[in-house]
């Protein structure tokens, strides 16, 4: 039954095709059935295949299905083929399941939008591309999916295209990720040129055989792949697009910018982990990027007013955790956090969507308040998601996944105390900004009245994801709680386990410290934002306090930096080159030929004697050639 794997990416693609060719002429219920139904059907098939894979794994714990040979040119023969192993099964299940829940939610959230059919068409195309990406058996097909999700991100961020600001945000998202895509393309070319194939499993084998550890080729390839991952996953220095991408509808933010597309970079690095194992410098860079990003984004999240922007910076920060885990060699921990993060971040975005919908499109948290009593259907999911995000000990799934990373940052052979310190401070910041958001938006007095309440189709996904955010941690119980690392064991066939150096006593101390960070952050948030908000107001009135606030709110001035260094010189050059220098060569050709035309036209005087003279001149020339040469 594994040979039905091709159905999984195909069903959403069929949904996309149907919705595109009917072009909004179907009635809304039909659109909802096609749009959400195709993804639901795909999720059912994926669940069935996944269950079979877990219960009756094939030989070698891997299954390849080649559908057709895509290109066959001079020995370059990539195929359209799907590769199913434990990692792919997990990614496939996460994408289809969370995708289906978000599609179900969108059938009610986007019910009054005029672009209903277009929305589901784009969402289906996105899910199809993402599934192609995670199931691809060669890097070229993966890159096809990579580009597909980038395209859909552009289309969906700029969904409300009549407002030019949305178009700008979409363009920014596309252009910044493009920078990463170029790096990835060069990396793919390098890999193909030196190793002769792009199929992932043979590629990894050949790389391990031919390239010694620390060789310059491996390091270059790994850095280029890292460049691609950094672009798509919004890490330093290419993270500036994600907060602006919140201009799209909330389900888009939930699906693309929380659960799936931004995790594509993490998946790519996990898939090519052999390459990173061969290039320790690149792996250190992965960890460094992750650590720096999680701190940077944490500080920025503390100063945002828009509810979705807080969550966007939070996403950047959490993916930084995943990169940190990849960088210290804790591959399985990174994927575990990816899965748990998909659950709680999608939950948080969907709950914020309920709030935005209920308050008639209000995004500013300082205009909300008291929603704990007014909108409990949003409060409880948000609280559970926030607890998972803050890694509240024992009762949230985030605790298990994030603490595993923090632990491995200290104890892995590639980890260091600095990385652990960064992760710990990041955990403190996470609780701080999360509960700042919760306290300001949901506690206190109500400032805006609630207009709409969510219906069943919005509540079912919220409830499902809330449950998963609480019990998801059971898949990976640490040593002092029963020692049942089911998830890591499951991925053992694909990803190597982390080299751990710490003793169990150090482990306990570290776990305690993590718990302190999480709860301490919540308490600090309570003090600063609920009990004594005047401390911070006084702080903000100081000149350097206000400057610090602006600096963090402006993404550590990176937007300003890119604007000054890249955007403005480019605009200046475009203005200077308005009468295009290269085009002037072609215009020059036209001008020259027109001049020749003018010159030749002037010889047509219409005077007969003139024509006779030209004939004489011609005959003189011909005669001289024939006589003298």
């Amino acid at each position: 039954m594994f040979h039905l794997i091709w159905l999984v990416p195909l069903l959403p693609l069929i949904g996309f095709a149907v919705l595109t060719f009917t072009q909004g002429r179907l009635i809304r219920p039909a659109v909802a059935w096609v749009g959400a139904g195709s993804v639901g059907l795909s999720a059912a098939v994926a669940l069935w295949i996944g269950a079979n894979f877990i219960l009756h794994p094939p030989a070698g714990h891997a299954y390849t299905l080649t559908v057709w040979h895509w290109i066959s040119v001079a020995g370059f023969r990539p195929t359209v083929g799907f590769y199913l192993d434990n990692l792919a099964v997990i990614m496939m299940l996460v994408v289809t399941f969370v995708g289906f829940l978000i599609h179900l939610y969108s059938t009610e959230y986007m019910a009054e939008d005029s672009g209903y059919s277009r929305f589901f068409a784009y969402m289906n195309l996105f899910v199809a591309s993402m599934l192609t990406l995670v199931l691809a058996d060669n890097l070229l097909l993966l890159y096809l999916g990579w580009e597909g999700v980038g395209l859909c991100s552009y289309l969906l961020v700029g969904f409300w295209y009549r407002d030019p600001a949305n178009g700008e945000a979409a363009r920014k998202a596309f252009v910044v990720t493009r920078v990463g895509d170029v790096a990835l393309t060069i990396g793919l070319l390098l890999l193909y040129t030196h190793l002769g194939t792009l199929h992932i499993q043979p590629l990894m084998h050949r790389a391990a055989e031919q390239w010694p550890v620390g060789s310059s080729l491996a390091t270059a390839a790994a850095f280029l792949v890292l460049g691609g991952a950094v672009g798509k996953s919004a890490q330093l220095p290419l993270q500036t697009w994600l907060p602006d991408a919140m201009a799209g509808p909330t389900p888009v933010s939930a699906l693309i910018h929380a659960a799936t597309m931004v995790t594509a970079g993490v998946y790519l690095i996990a898939r090519t982990h052999v390459l990173f194992a061969l290039a320790p410098d690149a792996q250190l860079a992965v960890a460094a990027v992750g650590a720096a990003t999680l701190l940077l984004a944490g500080f920025s999240a503390l100063t945002q007013r828009d509810i979705k922007r807080v969550l966007a910076y939070s996403t950047i920060s959490q993916i930084g955790y995943m990169f940190l885990a990849l960088g210290v060699g804790a591959w399985a921990a990174a994927i575990f956090h990816l899965m748990i993060h998909a659950f709680f971040k999608a939950l948080l975005f969907l709950a914020s969507g309920v709030v935005i919908h209920a308050l008639d499109d209000e995004h500013d948290i300082f205009k909300m308040g008291g929603l704990r009593r007014e909108l409990p259907s949003a409060f409880w999911p948000f609280l559970l998601g926030g607890m998972a995000l803050s890694a509240v000990p024992f009762i949230s799934a985030g605790f298990y996944s994030k603490d595993l990373i923090i632990l491995d940052a200290w104890s892995s052979s590639a980890g260091s105390p600095w990385l652990w310190a960064a992760a710990w401070i990041g955990a403190l910041m996470t609780s701080l900004y999360t509960f700042r958001l919760i306290f300001i938006a949901f506690f206190g007095e109500a400032k805006t009245r609630v207009r709409k309440r969510p219906g069943v189709r919005m509540m079912v996904p919220l409830v499902t994801l809330s449950v998963l955010s609480v019990i998801g941690g059971c898949l990976e119980l640490p040593a002092y709680m029963g020692n049942a690392p089911l998830f890591t064991n499951f991925l053992h066939t694909v990803l190597p386990s982390v080299h751990a150096l710490a003793a169990s006593r150090t482990e306990t101390v570290l776990e305690l410290l993590s718990g302190v960070a999480s709860l301490g952050g919540i308490y600090l948030a309570y003090l600063l934002f609920l009990r004594y908000p005047e401390w911070l107001r006084g702080f903000a009135r100081q000149p350097w306090g206000a400057a610090l606030h602006r600096f963090w709110a402006g993404d550590w001035a990176m937007d300003w930096l890119y604007d000054r260094v890249l955007v403005r010189p480019y605009h200046w050059f475009a203005r200077v080159n308005r009468s295009d220098a290269i085009d002037s060569v072609y215009r020059g050709l036209a001008v020259v030929s027109e001049a020749i035309h003018g010159g030749l036209s002037d010889t047509q005087t219409g005077v007969m004697r003139w024509y006779a003279l030209t004939m004489v001149v011609g005959s003189v020339i011909v005669l001289s050639i024939s006589v003298f040469l």
Partner: protein, 166 residues
Amino acid sequence: MNATFYVASIVAVLTTMLVITRTHVVHALLYLVVSLLALALVFYTLGAPFAAALEVIVYAGAIVVLFVFVVMMLNLGSQSAHRERRWMTPATWLGPGLFSAVLLGELIYSLYVGLPGREGVNVVPSRLVGMTLFGPYVLAVELASMLLLAGLVGAYHLGRREHLQH
């Protein structure tokens, strides 16, 4: 005979020069007649008496007469001579004169450098001409007569005045 040839050719050249420089059209035509007669003499000295006769009869006797008739019809008299003088300034002679001189120089060069020997001149009797004309070249004669017919019809049609239009 040599002297006849040289004198006749000099006369022909001089009168031709006069033809192309006269402002009064009738004067030019009269000089043309003299030039054609001189050329007929040249033909005779070159051993082509039939060609000489034809030159006088057809060229000088028919074609130039046609010219004279048209000139008389158009009444080109002394005012036209005035106009012609105005048109033929020395400046107009410069360019064409230059190119014609270059052309003549090349022709002379190819005549004197190209030709290997200095062949002589022979007589071709009229009898031979007649026999060849109605022998192998009889088709050419028929075609020439058709050409003349076309000329006749064309001249009649083009020479008509259309009273109704102007």
